[in-house]
Subunit: 262 residues, 2 copies
DNA sequence: ACCTGAACACCGTTCAAGT
DNA sequence: ACCTGAACACCGTTCAAGT
């Protein structure tokens, strides 16, 4: 799992350690009196850049996030974004972590009571994270990629781990358990969040019709060669993503419970 | 799981149903005798396009796959690739399925004996798929995205399902079980296959040193706020990706075994 | 210290022309 | 039926110049 570690110092592109200045509104109006239609100088902050990035991502998806569109929304030039992040990838890393702040807030109460069941608490956190990624499919690919610019990712990893700490396991088993949960949640959510085909997106074809059409093709396959596909065709046609995710998570957690001795 | 279904007919970009012509070598030399340095006309086939795509992907990664480089390797122009696929995405879909052929061959004997344990057989297939994705990280994102152009994806899904068919479960449970295994395998493998930082790739810093540097930063965190991170720091520093994957898979399979009643 | 925007290098895709 | 390659639209990134 390469993505789990903070990046070593030599990779970090060091900038002003104090970070960018606080936003000062929209900047003072420039030029002497009477100078016509002078564009005023825009002023940003990491906060506003990330907020606008997330908004654009929510509206247009990852493919719709580009520096020109983002600069337009921020009311400035493309170049200024590079003052706050050193690449599009880092922008996505930071945007992902930005959004994870809400997830962290949502799960803050979880695990507070020592009396609660650790595995149930683990499940609650996992489900919350899952929901967040389904809502924003781009999140999956950037979760915990670089813990140095993603403190919230690390805190969430820690939070999951703290529940497992209450189980009787070896450190190695605990590490594997949390990694497995994260892998399952992120992998499944990313898969489910994949762009449905154009016809569905545009509302031209409903999701149910889409699934039905897919299943019809499955049913047309040779039953002797594809017994399983035929066996689950009805289930697939009627399935709910969230149910499917939870069923898998419960399998994983049942195995964990067993390992922890009941 | 949008990606599980074949695409409905209306999305399919219908071409000659007989498919592209078989490769005819490198094409006849063109032009009348004596015409100097006339470039001969290249001739491809879906097979050769996919083989060259996979080769390029293996050498340069997904970021290195572009139409100009691919056309160069094929000895032709960019446009001709569009005779065989209608977009870069479809090229990746087909390339992924092309590679899955070997995975399918590798697991052909699995499950042949009714006497074998179905869960063990399921694990064997899962591990084989995992290894293939770790080797080619781009595979993960394109696995079972469009079963209409990915027959091998569907066959692999079927193969996993056939093992689960031997377990005493409801169709719904079987559907969920296979989906969970696929989600876990693909998600974990894709995560682990993520590009390590430049310094590691170039051999400038070894993987162990990289992990050690990451872990050092974890150890510098406040122990009261990050008890779990401290708890597993040693494990993380020494971990092996394949072990980690198998431990998680075994948790999932243990849960499945339990559900199947032993 | 921070912003601007033209310029560069590169890329997927199209299409009129060719064979 | 299949291939060619110039052209188009678009994109991340850089950087000299500005404030």
């Amino acid at each position: 799992m390469w993505s789990d570690g903070p990046v070593p110092p030599q990779r970090r592109d060091l900038r002003d350690p104090r970070g960018p200045a606080v936003a000062r509104g929209r900047g003072a109006r420039g030029g002497r009196a009477g100078a016509p239609r002078e564009r005023r100088r825009a002023s940003h902050s990491l906060e506003s850049v990330l907020a606008e990035t997330v908004a654009l991502l929510d509206e247009a998806g990852e493919a719709g996030l580009n520096f020109r569109a983002l600069a337009g929304r921020l009311g400035g030039g493309v170049g200024s974004i590079y003052w706050y992040v050193s690449s599009r990838d880092e922008l996505l890393d930071r945007a992902a972590d930005h959004v994870l702040g809400s997830v962290l807030d949502a799960v803050a109460p979880v695990g507070a009571s020592e009396a609660g069941d650790p595995v149930d608490d683990l499940r609650t956190i996992a489900v919350t994270l899952f929901d967040a990624i389904v809502d924003r499919p781009w999140l999956g690919a950037y979760f915990m990629r670089n813990t140095e610019v993603q403190p919230n990712s690390l805190r969430l990893f820690e939070k999951l781990g703290q529940q497992v700490l209450r189980l009787e396991l070896t450190p190695r088993q605990r590490f594997h358990a949390v990694s497995a949960v994260v892998g399952f949640v992120v992998g499944t959510a990313a898969d489910m969040g994949q762009q449905p085909p154009e016809a569905v997106l545009s509302g031209e074809v409903g999701r149910d019709d889409y699934l039905a059409a897919a299943v019809d093709q499955w049913r047309a396959l040779d039953a002797a060669q594809f017994p399983f596909v035929h066996h689950i065709a009805d289930e697939f046609a009627a399935h709910d993503d969230a149910d499917q995710f939870r069923a898998g998570l419960d399998l994983l957690l049942a195995g964990l419970r067993l390992q922890a001795g009941g």
